[in-house]
């Protein structure tokens, strides 16, 4: 089996999950986005998105900040440097293998 195909076995399983990959890809394309924007853009349910964001925060790929805009609470999400590195590596591995 080619070494490039074998590398597929080593890809990050946290980021490989389709919903989390979508979240990370979106956050990579913007500077920051709040929970409501991510929910509408991805089409995920509130609970589903919350669970995936918690997982991504737990492993350090996403930073979450709770703030306010006037009286309206905002949950701002940003991709961390670690998250950007992991996504970049993921892209390279998938591209090489496919």
């Amino acid at each position: 089996m080619s070494a490039k195909i074998q590398q597929l076995g080593e890809i990050d399983r946290v980021i490989h999950e389709p919903a989390r990959l979508m979240i990370v890809a979106l956050l990579a394309a913007v500077a920051e986005a709040d929970f409501q924007y991510l929910r509408q853009a991805t089409g995920l349910t509130q609970g589903n998105l919350s669970a995936h964001l918690s997982k991504l925060e737990e492993v350090g790929y996403v930073a979450i900040e709770k703030t306010f805009r006037g009286k309206y609470p905002l949950t701002i999400c940003r991709l961390t440097e670690r998250g950007a590195e992991v996504l970049n590596h993921y892209r390279k591995v998938i591209k090489a293998a496919l």
């Binding site: 500077a31 929910r39 991805t42 995920l44 905002l74």
Partner: protein, 214 residues
Amino acid sequence: MTNISQNIANQNPDVIASRLIQKAHNRDGLPEIFIGLAFLILGGLCWVQAVAPPRSAAFVAAVLGFIVLALLLGLGSPWAIKTVRRKFLVETVGFVEMKPVPRRRSIVVAAVALVIAVAALIAAWIGNGSTPPTAWVLAGTGIGGGALLILAGRSPRSVVGGVSMAATGIVLAFSGISLEPGFAILYGVIGLLLFVSGTVVFLTLITKPAESGE
């Protein structure tokens, strides 16, 4: 979960993200409202050019207004849309801060626009000021503009808008109408369509109860 999330592992995640962002950008109808207004005003200016005597004050004002509006639309509408969303719609559409456009990309886009403008001037000079037949210009504008609308919107209503613009351009081409009135009608029709569809989407969105964030 959307179909996109199911297919994301099979496609470039950057392309998927770009499509999701584009869909989100068009979700509240604001871009359509601004573009529709701009087309309506452009259509009005074209009509003034059609009826006013050449080189009259009204004619010159319409030409200058056309140029100024094009610049304002290009430079001002993204800021206007962002401001309206941040001030009034953050509970409904959420908050996003886009990454700044890389300076190199801005320079490349400006350089390409300059090359096209210079090429068009040279072509006009070589052609001794002769222009393609009016029908071709109207049909080409309708079809080209329609294609851009479909690509920019990537939604069913943008397809309707794009097809309408193409069809209007083709109908006007066969009608034998002259250039300025033809453009006035083309811009007026598409401007009205975009403005109305954008307004309907916007009103539907703001009257829907906003779901609370996390």
